[in-house]
Amino acid sequence: MRCGDFRETYREDMAIFDTSFARWLVAIFLAALVAVPFGASTYWLDVLNRILIAVIAATGLNILTGFTGQISLGNAAFLAVGAYTTAFLAGRWGLPFPLVLPASGIVTALVGMVFGVPSLRLKGLYLAVATLAAHFVVEFTAVHWESVTGGVNGISVPAPKLGPLELSGDRRVYWLALPLAAGMLLFAKNLFRTKVGKAFVAIRDQDISAEVMGVNVFKYKLLSFGVSSFYVGVAGSLLAYQARIISPENFPITVAIDYLGMIIIGGLGSILGSIFGAVFITLLPEVLRLLTGALSGQFPGLIGLFSSLKMGLFGLAIVLFLLFEPDGMAARWHKIKAYWKLYPFSY
């Protein structure tokens, strides 16, 4: 038990993991994550991959909504752009994944910046509606531009390839998704220690003050849309690689709402919150599925209720979090840590 938290240099003060104990915990956690595929079944690997993809996308959305204060309902659309770019580049041109992943991110970033232009004039609900347009434009394009997207039938995506290396199956995709998610989380965490990140936060807190202080609001808002969409695009690319088949049904508006739910439940303006939210929202239906499956012997009608139960619990979780922990799971996590740090002498 440590009796104090002393920071003697700027370097220590700036550290992300501030104690050696925390660093050890993170190292153990990462090692555990690396070990998971050796024991996990296909089903749980599929769930884990979807969690990693959700973590990346939720972090992207949190950069835009949590850190820069711009509400976006276009996440499902940006996810779709990333996924279809991957389907096209990998399927049609046969490019290897080290090129496809960043290219999908960049294309999505460009599309995101186009739909971010209205943010110059619009705020709050109005911006939300403007980004909603992105959703319907992309959905319409995905359904009707059949030569590229395969229309409603969907399009199949080859396994991620690099020369002779082929990452087919969930186990191998996991090896791709895990380092990518870790790296992108680290980048996002560090982004908010730079001038750009501080400018984002300044815009969120008071855009007029930010402008007065010399932050070019429009430039940084667009940049935020770009960075955020890049994250979502990479997540979309991974989603395409993991699902191997994508169709407009992968990207309904409920996906955008799920992502908003993730960052609200996890914690707006917190990288850790994006992780918590993504894990929670992705696991919620799976746990529910296991429960309804296990209880279906006693209550056969339960399987039919599954989808309505899922929506109901999702709504309930958001309401409860807004009421009791508006800062999300990340804030609660810090409170729990603070409590145990001083336990049993809390005063």
Binding site: A32, Y43, G154, I245, I303, G304
Partner: protein
């Protein structure tokens, strides 16, 4: 917290891995729609499959081995179907799958053909009949394309006006199922002197078809083929009645069954439809087992042709399993090869005899047309479509 999650994942994974199959059990995957936009017809079909499996197991199973049906509801969503497929094949190690919709079956076709999993879909899409492209896809009915061709043949026979060709319109859902037979229908109209005047697309889940029907009325269609499920067909019939249309409507096997007159009441009168699997209770030798099972297990339920369809599927693939088991090759490849030995396999009249060969997966081309007369389904015609090579896979 983080570690706890990881530990939980690990233990759950270990628990799932431990539940391996008993030796005398054959695992078959079931992908059903119980909650999605086609659940109106998906539920009775799923019940038919489940009851068919229970009946087969009671009769001794597959040469003494029990069938274990691992059923999943995927809500007619392609991503859910892909996730369920991975679970069925990766974790449950099923030997084959009894699937459902056109969109998801087409989406999964590369998977099932790569991993050699025989896939009996309730989708009758013509695209699935060419073994050169989809060797592991099967279904138990004439293809959607042959059904539409047969219905158009009936239109020609029904049309008495010699001064002009009949005008036909196609109504279909904006999804793979809706669109599946349309190209075949267009070509058939052109070859046979039927004027295709209009094509109307309805959304997957619609409440009102007035604007599409007004378009169709303006084009003057004498007949219309409605390629959506029962709920959609009854909505269209209701709106057509409201608008006073004289068009004669026809529908596909998922829009036309005993459920249609039950839902649409008097507006269903005179509507024609393709009924490849007989209505429940029809006087055919194969129906006795179904009626007996129904009386013994759930005498108060009502059943329809969808239920008979699910049951027929089990009869066909359980025979393939039986032959594969006898050959000592109860694998995906073995079941496929066994299915391809089925020649004029008789289902006691539940559906026309089924034939698969390594070069042609068109199960049957004989298509019965029924009409609703006095609230009852009455057979009015049956057409045998030729097995033209250029129609294979179309």
């Amino acid at each position: 917290m983080k570690r706890t999650i990881a530990m939980l994942c690990l233990t759950a994974a270990a628990a799932l891995g431990a539940g391996s199959a008993a030796a005398q059990e054959i695992k078959v995957g079931g992908l059903f729609d119980l909650t999605g936009i086609t659940s109106d017809v998906g539920k009775p079909y799923a019940q038919g499959v489940q009851d068919g499996v229970a009946w087969t197991n009671a009769k001794g199973g597959i040469n003494g081995k029990r069938i274990k049906l691992v059923a999943v509801d995927y809500g007619y969503k392609i991503p859910e179907a892909v996730a369920a497929y991975k679970r069925l094949v990766g974790d449950e190690k099923v030997v084959m799958i009894n699937g459902w919709g056109t969109g998801d079956t087409l989406a999964l076709k590369d998977f099932v053909n790569g991993e050699k999993i025989p896939y009996f879909s309730a989708s009758f899409a013509g695209d699935l009949t060419d073994p050169a492209k989809t060797p592991y896809n099967f279904f138990v009915a004439p293809s959607y394309s042959d059904q539409l061709r047969a219905w158009l043949t009936w239109v020609k026979a029904d049309w008495k006006d010699t001064s002009r060709a009949p005008k036909v319109a196609f109504f279909f859902g904006d999804n793979a199922y809706g669109k599946a037979p349309m190209e075949a229908g267009r070509r058939f109209c052109k070859e046979n002197g039927i004027e295709l005047v209009d094509e109307e697309i309805v959304p997957g889940n619609f409440q009102d078809a007035t604007s599409q029907l007004l378009n169709m009325k303006a084009k003057g269609a004498d007949y219309a083929y409605v390629n959506v499920t029962t709920t959609g067909v009854s909505l269209i019939l209701r709106d057509a009645k409201k608008l006073g249309l004289a068009t004669k409507f026809g529908s596909n096997p998922y829009g036309f069954s005993e459920a249609l007159p039950a839902v649409a009441k008097e507006v269903a009168e005179g509507v024609t439809g393709v009924v490849p699997h007989v209505p429940f209770g029809e006087n055919v030798p194969g129906m006795k087992a179904l009626v007996d099972f129904h009386k013994a297990n759930h005498p108060n339920d009502t059943h329809d042709a969808m239920y008979v369809r699910g049951w027929s599927y089990v009869l066909v693939w359980s025979e393939a399993l039986r032959r594969a088991d006898k050959a000592g090759n109860l694998t995906g490849e073995g079941v496929k090869a066994a299915a391809e030995t089925l020649t004029n396999f008789d289902l006691g009249g539940l559906t026309n005899p089924i034939t698969y060969s390594p070069t042609d997966h068109r199960p049957s081309t004989r298509t019965p047309i029924y009409q609703i007369k006095g609230g009852k389904l009455v057979k009015v015609a049956e057409y045998d479509m030729p097995r033209r090579p250029d129609w294979l896979g179309l």
